[in-house]
């Protein structure tokens, strides 16, 4: 057969590499099982061509190895498409990318269904080349794309997580953002940089935790009455086995994303997982792990998990369809029993049998234990973890097989994805001995160490990148802290100094204060008889005409319903001293704040104050000075008195953070006042436009949430940029010493 085949294609393969000649017969017969005669010709021509392009033997072998299956998968035309494309790449400066392209092609093709999609994939690579290769003008030379090879090398991982569209977005983002920094570009496409992970997270197919976080949080509070926080671990690329969720005394560790599985949507998988964890929390006891052999632990865990699931399904019948759909259904005889350990496979069948009454284990021992298991749980009884340990030991002892300890483990379809790793039921001696040891969250990695003492957990905000016109996901980290307190009397002294101003403001306030009552006349039903109208009606009535029945009047209250957020820039530049008065901008801001806070308090509007500064995107500091429910009293004054200026101005992130508080207020009008002395800037952002555009985007976002932003700037040169950010919603204070007077007036003008 082989001889005949060789004879048939005699002379068609012209490659002279010794290795190619060596493997040729084998590859040929492999190809022959997949390809038609005609296809064989294109196939061999393609191989011949790759031989002649001067890239060595590797691309040839890779091509010959992968193409038959690929071409059988997509049908006629595939060979030509790929060999033409290979030709195109080989003729370009990126010819080194040919080998990675071919070697990853078969894995990639498993995720692609049609020839059109394959073409899309190739177009995507072309686009990447266009965006990343550098052309040096005047030299007529094109430099190869630095990121293409790492991108292709990582393509199997990418395509297992993202759709083709997602990959394209991922690629375009990297290409555009790192066009001029090859090193970072390589790190991005090699999936090593933080950003690449963040983008993949955004583009992932499936349900991300972030998207359903609020819902799960509420589910956890309402249905399960649990206040442990969630901690998200990433189901990242560099881990061979996906980590499992877990529950311990402090937190619930959950994966960052769930794809659909067995027709169950990501959100339902989260719900099932949460229910299972909560079941453990409610019903599981502790077992001493050291008393059980590892195999026995596995079986005992299976019984305990099944008990938890059974109790859950009894109380929440709706979980039944989720659990049964997600639980594997390992059919009999799948595990070959020879040379491989079937323990996991048996355990999974047992687990299925315990929770699914319709499942026939076809195993007398499992049947017996199922009956015992059901006996323990019958009549609304709950059983205990110890009962399950007894059952587990019994099963394990009776079913033990020699093959169980083999290193090869039958793993297919044995993972119950909604269950946790059961660390909550196993007590380990060693850990217990060292009670003081703090075990770090193994899935957590932090890029920058920020002192998080007395701060709220960080919140992440996207930042707008005007160059690529996309959001950089989770780009800025905001830490919110309570502002330190100082001496409240400082503020009182400042107020004394502005006594005359306070008096003037007070008059204005009186005028602005809501008029308590407004009369509405001509009401059919009202509070009081409107005598004028009533008399007219009586006259009409007596003279035989139809009287107007609207003879009452009533009152309505005309009230202000405004929520205000005053966001104060506390960056380093506020320490500048005014040469004439000797005051720093910070001191002026303090005065202005004190007076404004007093004014607003008089008006009775909802009012909050916060200060912000930033030290790179990893630490945006948001300092709480006054909350909506706090009264303007000594605590707040003490905080204003202790204000200090340092670091830079990352305005967008601070605004987004402040907006989330303002959003929660119930008011007809929501206003965010930003008091600043310069343009948004930070030391990690070189492009001065970047943060300006981002802040502008933040203003737009706020607008869409019904929040009106208004900027009061102390920078005399602000005209150059402030309009780009705030449109016409700004005031430039030219004489900074007038700030304490002008700030409350601006406020009253805005809210009038």
């Amino acid at each position: 057969m082989n001889e005949a085949l060789l004879a048939k294609y005699e002379g068609k393969f012209t490659c002279k590499f010794p290795q190619a000649i060596e493997f040729y017969p084998e590859l040929l017969s492999h190809a022959d099982t997949y390809l038609s005669d005609e296809e064989m010709d294109t196939y061999l021509n393609g191989a011949n061509f790759l031989c002649s392009i001067g890239q060595g033997v590797d691309p040839v072998l890779a091509y010959m190895e992968v193409m038959p299956e690929i071409s059988a998968h997509f049908g006629a035309g595939t060979n030509k498409l790929i060999s033409d494309y290979a030709y195109q790449i080989a003729r370009s400066p990126n010819k080194k990318a040919l080998l990675p392209l071919l070697s990853t092609l078969s894995t990639v093709c498993r995720r692609i269904d049609t020839l059109e999609d394959l073409q899309t994939y190739l177009n995507l690579i072309n686009e990447c080349v266009e965006l990343t290769q550098t052309v040096i003008h005047g030299h007529h030379s094109i430099h190869e794309s630095p990121g293409l090879i790492p991108l292709l090398m990582n393509m199997p991982q990418l395509i297992s997580r993202l759709s083709l569209d997602g990959i394209r977005n991922f690629m375009v983002y990297g290409a555009k953002n790192y066009a001029s920094s090859p090193k970072e570009q390589v790190a991005y496409f090699a999936l090593e940089s933080h950003d690449s992970k963040a983008i993949i997270q955004r583009e992932r197919v499936g349900t991300t935790f972030k998207k359903v976080e609020r819902h799960l949080d509420m589910l956890k509070t309402s249905v399960w009455n649990c206040d442990l926080p969630f901690s998200v671990f990433s189901t990242d690329f560099d881990q061979i086995r996906e980590p499992e969720p877990y529950l311990d005394d402090q937190l619930l560790a959950v994966p960052d994303v769930y794809e659909n599985q067995n027709g169950i949507s990501g959100i339902n998988r989260y719900r099932a997982m949460l229910a299972h964890l909560m079941g453990h929390k409610r019903w599981s006891g502790k077992l001493m792990a050291d008393n059980y052999a590892p195999h026995m632990q596995l079986i005992v865990s299976i019984f305990e998990d099944a008990r938890i699931d059974t109790l859950l399904m009894r109380e929440y019948p709706g979980l039944k369809k989720l659990f049964l759909a997600l639980h594997p259904y390992p059919e009999k005889g799948r595990c070959p029993e020879e040379g491989i350990s079937c323990l996991r496979y048996r355990a999974t069948r047992l687990s299925r049998a315990l929770i699914d009454p319709d499942f026939d284990p076809e195993d007398p021992l499992m049947d017996t234990l199922r009956t015992e298991f059901n006996d323990i749980l019958k009549n609304e009884q709950e059983g205990s973890t110890t009962d399950m340990s007894d059952l587990g030991t019994k099963y394990y002892v009776r079913s033990r097989q020699k093959t169980d300890s083999l290193p090869d483990i039958y793993f297919d379809d044995t993972e119950v994805s909604y269950r946790d790793d059961n660390r909550c039921i196993w007590h380990h001696y060693e850990e217990y001995d060292e009670a003081d040891e703090i075990i770090p969250n193994e899935y957590e990695s932090d890029e920058k160490v920020v002192d998080t003492a007395d701060s709220l957990p960080p919140r992440y905000y996207d930042e707008w990148d005007y160059i690529s016109e996309t959001y950089r996901p989770d780009w800025a980290t905001v830490y919110e802290r309570l502002h330190p307190s100082g001496d409240a009397s400082v503020v009182d002294r400042l107020m004394d100094k502005h006594g005359a101003l306070a008096k003037r403001l007070k008059k204005m306030i009186e005028m602005l204060k809501p008029q308590n009552k407004k009369r509405i006349r001509f009401q059919e039903e009202g509070e009081e008889l409107d005598l004028d109208v009533a008399l007219r009606s009586i006259i009409d009535f007596k003279s035989g005409q139809i009287p107007d029945p609207r003879i009452n009047y009533s009152h309505t209250t005309d009230s202000r319903n405004i929520a205000v957020m005053l966001l104060v820039d506390t960056s380093e530049s506020l320490n500048q001293r005014n040469p004439e008065t000797g005051q720093t901008l910070l001191e002026l801001s303090q005065e202005a704040l004190a007076i404004t806070a007093w004014t607003v308090e008089q008006l009775g509007d909802k009012f909050a104050i916060a200060g912000f500064s930033s030290d790179t995107r990893h630490e945006v500091r948001y300092q709480h000075i006054k909350g909506y429910s706090e009264k303007y009293g000594d605590t707040v004054k003490a905080r204003i008195g202790a204000m200090k200026a340092s670091y830079s101005t990352r305005m967008g992130a601070a605004m987004r953070h402040a907006a989330h508080y303002l959003e929660g207020q119930e008011a007809e009008k929501k206003i965010m006042l930003i008091l600043t002395d310069g343009e948004p800037a930070d030391i990690d952002t070189k492009d001065p436009q970047m943060l300006i555009r981002d802040t502008h985007k933040a203003v737009e976002e706020l607008q869409s949430k019904g929040i009106y932003s208004y900027c009061i700037t102390l920078d005399p040169n602000a005209d150059e940029y402030v309009e780009d950010i705030f449109g016409s919603q700004y005031t430039v204070i030219d004489h900074v010493e007038k700030l304490p007077e002008q700030l409350p007036q601006v406020f009253m003008k805005l809210t009038h």
């Binding site: 609020r214 819902h215 949080d217 509420m218 589910l219 509070t221 309402s222 249905v223 009455n225 719900r271 229910a275 109380e315 929440y316 019948p317 709706g318 979980l319 039944k320 509070e527 009081e528 008889l529 009533a534 009606s537 009586i538 009535f541 009287p547 003879i551 009533s554 009152h555 209250t557």
Partner: protein, 266 residues
């Protein structure tokens, strides 16, 4: 004027949560004004009706709102063919003929409106009708009862201290799960199992109070759900319609509660 039309003929169903019935009776014997506080739909109005029935007294209920004015309570002149005619308001009626006057959700009314009740609620027990030039001495059977929901209380909507300090207070809350299930069973005539499940959904929502919900699901809404189930609606649909849609517009909360319902009813 026939005051007996305000009498309650049939016993309104009420399951006592503790000794509130005795406390009320004692207060009535002395004709002390009473305020009942508690979340919406926990049975405040039902309790007052029940007590009125038990004591055999007529009851006049006024649901307060922001636009209610003193003249809405006291009375006003209306026009008729001969000029004007005085018509008593509900408060005057009750004081004149001896009924229990029940001002429901009193904080909804503006604070200054409520000043009219002051003279009726202390030792004077009289009501002056300025416009008519009449001073009414309250009938011996007259009693004033107000109710309000502390959950809604804001700076703007609160009673004046001078009003508050004229009443004895009774605190109400949603009943214990077992009692609440009893109430559902008797009030809506459904079987125990469904009643328990409804109560469980109610508890679920009450855990969300302060996390996006102002108030939990009231007993009243549970009764609605039970009634819908009796009409042949599936429990899941009935619960969504009666217990979730009315209380929230927040998509996440809605989804959470819907999911809880689906889990509980399967």
């Amino acid at each position: 004027m026939d005051i007996s039309q305000y009498k309650i003929e049939n016993e309104p169903f009420y399951d006592a949560q503790s000794n509130e019935v005795e406390l009320y009776e004692a207060a009535y014997q002395a004709r002390l004004p009473i305020m009942v506080k508690g979340p919406t739909g926990c049975g405040k109005s039902r309790f007052i009706e029940h007590m009125a029935w038990k004591l055999g007294k007529p009851i006049i209920t006024v649901s307060c709102n922001e636009d209610i004015s003193a003249s809405d309570l006291v009375g006003r002149y209306l026009l008729d063919a001969n000029g004007t005619r005085w018509v008593d308001g509900p408060l005057t009626l009750a004081a004149r003929y001896g009924a229990i006057c029940y001002l429901d959700e009193i904080v909804e009314a503006r604070q200054d409106t409520m000043v009219v009740i002051h003279a009726l609620t202390d030792h004077r027990r009289e009501l002056s009708l300025d416009k008519k030039g009449e001073l009414i001495k309250a009938h011996p059977d007259f009693q004033l009862v107000i109710s309000y929901n502390p959950g809604y209380q804001t700076m703007m909507k609160d009673l004046k201290q001078s009003t508050k300090q004229r009443f004895c207070g009774l605190d109400f809350d949603y009943a214990e799960p077992a009692v609440e299930a009893d109430i559902l069973q008797k009030e809506a005539n459904i079987d125990r199992e469904i009643a328990n499940k409804l109560v469980k959904i109610g508890e679920t929502a009450r855990n969300l109070k302060g996390h996006g919900l102002d108030e939990g699901i009231s007993t009243r809404l549970m009764v609605y759900a039970a009634t819908l189930i009796n009409q042949g609606i599936t429990p899941v649909e009935a619960c969504k319609m009666a217990m979730v849609r009315p209380i929230t517009d927040d998509a996440d909360i809605r989804e959470t509660l819907d999911n809880a319902i689906e889990m509980i009813f399967g």
